[in-house]
Symmetry: D4
Subunit: 152 residues, 8 copies
């Protein structure tokens, strides 16, 4: 009744293997899910603007050029996602992840947050906009398996 494929956008932390664990869980469960997300090659993501469009002396404009190009990808994929999963980790400030969460919330796209308990208070506004808060990537897989099929 629900062989419908789902598009799931994975936003946020790029320093741990949470994306791989979700991908593995989806493969193991044989779910018809297309995972999308930002470009994960950190250097490419930082440098794409000046690499493609030419150098900048000021870092601010280097960043602006790169972020503009990255936004073509991220906005397009977030807008067509059925679910947006946003991972917050212990390091860095990850404002782009929270920005993506706000963007998804404004569009009415279901949001799943993924983070440890010690970040709960700092993330309370984001979690309040989420359909679920998971602690482990495998829980995200189980949520997808459930909503796509029906057995928890």
């Amino acid at each position: 009744m629900s062989a419908r494929p789902w598009d799931v956008y994975l936003s946020g932390e790029i320093h741990t293997d949470w994306r791989d664990r979700i991908a593995k869980g989806i493969a193991d469960a044989e779910l018809p899910v297309t995972l999308t997300g930002p470009v994960l090659d950190h250097a490419a993501s930082d440098d794409c603007g000046v690499d493609i469009l030419g150098p900048e002396e000021k870092k601010y404009w280097k960043d602006r050029k790169g972020a503009g190009i990255n936004a073509i990808r991220t906005r397009t994929l977030i807008e067509e996602a059925d679910v947006v999963v946003v991972r917050f980790g212990p390091k860095y400030r990850q404002w782009n992840a929270a920005f993506d969460a706000g963007f998804a919330a404004a569009m009415g796209t279901p949001l799943v947050t993924l983070h440890d308990e010690d970040l709960d208070h700092a993330l309370k506004e984001v979690d309040a906009a989420a359909a679920a808060t998971a602690r482990e990537p495998e829980q995200v897989v189980r949520i997808l398996e459930y909503v796509m099929g029906g057995s928890a």
Copy 2:
């Protein structure tokens, strides 16, 4: 001229065989309809939140966790449905069915209600927002057959 497949979301009562009767009618008529709906395994639906995300002492939060996850499925499928059929039965208060009807109405998605005559007065606001009120599941099938093909 209309081999176009239709997505039909079936919301509401889970204690009678109305979904099966609609599915059978669609199969018999060989209509290219994809039926969708909420998770019908009552226990799974109630427990998915705590099963996947961990236990809660308070029943309110157990319910909230489960309802959050179920909403990922129901909102996504209702938003992409061509028609939403909402069944009201004699038992229970079925507020989620009426909630789905309101949600579909706000999005401009055609709504078909399915209920006995003795519920007419209680459902008058919902029926007024509906394209049709059917009494039997087979009438829903005939409506789909007609709108998809042209012969009543």
Copy 3:
């Protein structure tokens, strides 16, 4: 900083004094709130269709006529409300209240539910879409006082 007036739509149960208690609380707190809602004169609400547009033999069409007219009011006021409060009581099935909640949720209008704890399980989908679940009308007033001004 927030003398902005708020429009608050009160939907649902019409057999207890919850609307009066909210109105009194707002008056006592001198909040710049405009309370709106459906026509509360039960007979007028049921009969407006046939009273204005002429009699019907079938009750279904009498109801349809009345519900159509009532919807002119309710949709218009719900669409412009800043907050929709939906009250569920122990009696009747109050499907129109849940319908209004679904309508508000689809439009992204903040929703506050108001009901006793024994209805929690039956209302879990509606509550999951709500910004808050209150037990007493005075809590609704305190929520409004807080969001409009800043002191809880």
Copy 4:
């Protein structure tokens, strides 16, 4: 030609006097601006959920209750703002500020970011969605003065 009043929402950091400096600048320039924003009383903002709706043992649900109520205010005011100004400071992770920025961006509301240069790289996605990045609150006032009137 532009005596039109503007609504400006101030989101983010609550530990420095940037809001006061913007308010003072607006008063000095006699601009017809209504400043709005979240509840700034930190304790009230954290506790409003349990204060109004009753205590919770788990901090996660205490936060959820409070964040739900705060969202009634913040979403409503952000949605009607003409401009959203988001301030990021050196301390804390301020995910709610970035969430607000994403929400405003998705709605097409003009965004002004306000932060020091050392945060530029971490905020590059947010800045790329902004109409302007200011370093000092007084620059925000000058931007408003300019767009509302015409003389820089």
Copy 5:
């Protein structure tokens, strides 16, 4: 509780006094209603294009010029109306009235149709999109009085 003013757009037939009767009823009932509608001076409406923008040899372009200008008025006023009333009379084909009804329906604006019973079959699609079908202008006034105030 409902001193809120309502904007009501009156579309359709221009050869009988139905607009006057609605205006009189509203004045008598002292309802805070602003009535809007197309330009009623038939010659001015037909000729505004060529009068203002210069003559045309072909009637088609004369009509196009006039209709373009009239649309500035009608679209703007229909878009901000709370209720659109569309009157169909026995003469002429009044396609612009049905066009306005379709426009209002697509925008989710409540629609009231006003016509005699002998036009019911020809207008069945339009009536099915309407909240109510009235036979006399005074019924429209009573509907407004009811939805604005609460007494039928």
Copy 6:
């Protein structure tokens, strides 16, 4: 560069062979167009409501029932059409055709009208909302051929 298939909704007059002529032209030109439209079996279209959902004594409600079911088809197909073609003929008042034109215009869907010159004045508002006014079905085919491919 444009093998993209197009959905074209054909609304209006059902007494001449204009739909067949468009279908033939599309077949001859081998255009990847899916033609959709209302149910063309006049009796089925009139009776579908009472045939499926049970008889009505009053013709008004018979019509309402049928029109509600037909609207499930027409709204769904109009909403997904790339182009809406509306044909007005010399007989009948064809208010549903003008209603469809208004609905399409409000949704921003390109509209092509098809009618003889003697109807120009009566249709001036509808034509002013149209991308083109054709006189013959074959012109509609040529428009589609041009916009889909590039050679007039």
Copy 7:
């Protein structure tokens, strides 16, 4: 019946007195129109970015900074305008005027173009999206007078 005030945005050419002539005509006719538009002080408009936010070595970024700030004003005012008037003159390429026209067209805001006949061919796409093409500012005033009041 139409004392409603209108917001009219004037976009485009800044080297002739067309804005003054429209303003004078509106004053003479005592129309309740609020005229809005971009900042007309050319130097201020070019320099606002670097004046407020600090200098740039590259002209591209100087322009970007200024255009970002100007867009806060222009988007906000265009979005709330009832009518957008766009003037094209014989000199300069005035891409921002055509950009504003496209923006208004996408939002469904009525558009009036104002230009000489020798620009007709170059502006044919823009004119086709417009409700009217005027040659003289006084014609714009007459259009407003007509749509706001009823006498051409």
Copy 8:
């Protein structure tokens, strides 16, 4: 992870080979991109209105007829594009290109501008709405390659 096909609309200048260079680059990189755009046969584009719908004496109406038909194509393809690339060249005023850019910006579709540096100042409003400004067609290809795949 991103084998998703992208629709890219190419708007603007028709006198140089920039479209061919983008098409070649996409073919060389084997990107799953569908390129769309306006009809490029200049004479056909100018004459399609009168060729299909009959001659006009006034050039203004000849242009209007053609532009109406062309808009069926351009609006439909721009609305479904993932990215809109707009090229401005040294000759002609290319108002339709800027119009398309404004239309895309209003819809939130990512925009890439393509032009030489000497046009920067004249295009500053358009560039400020763009995700990126490229100088060479090959840079557009690299942007697409990057956002679709991840390696710059």
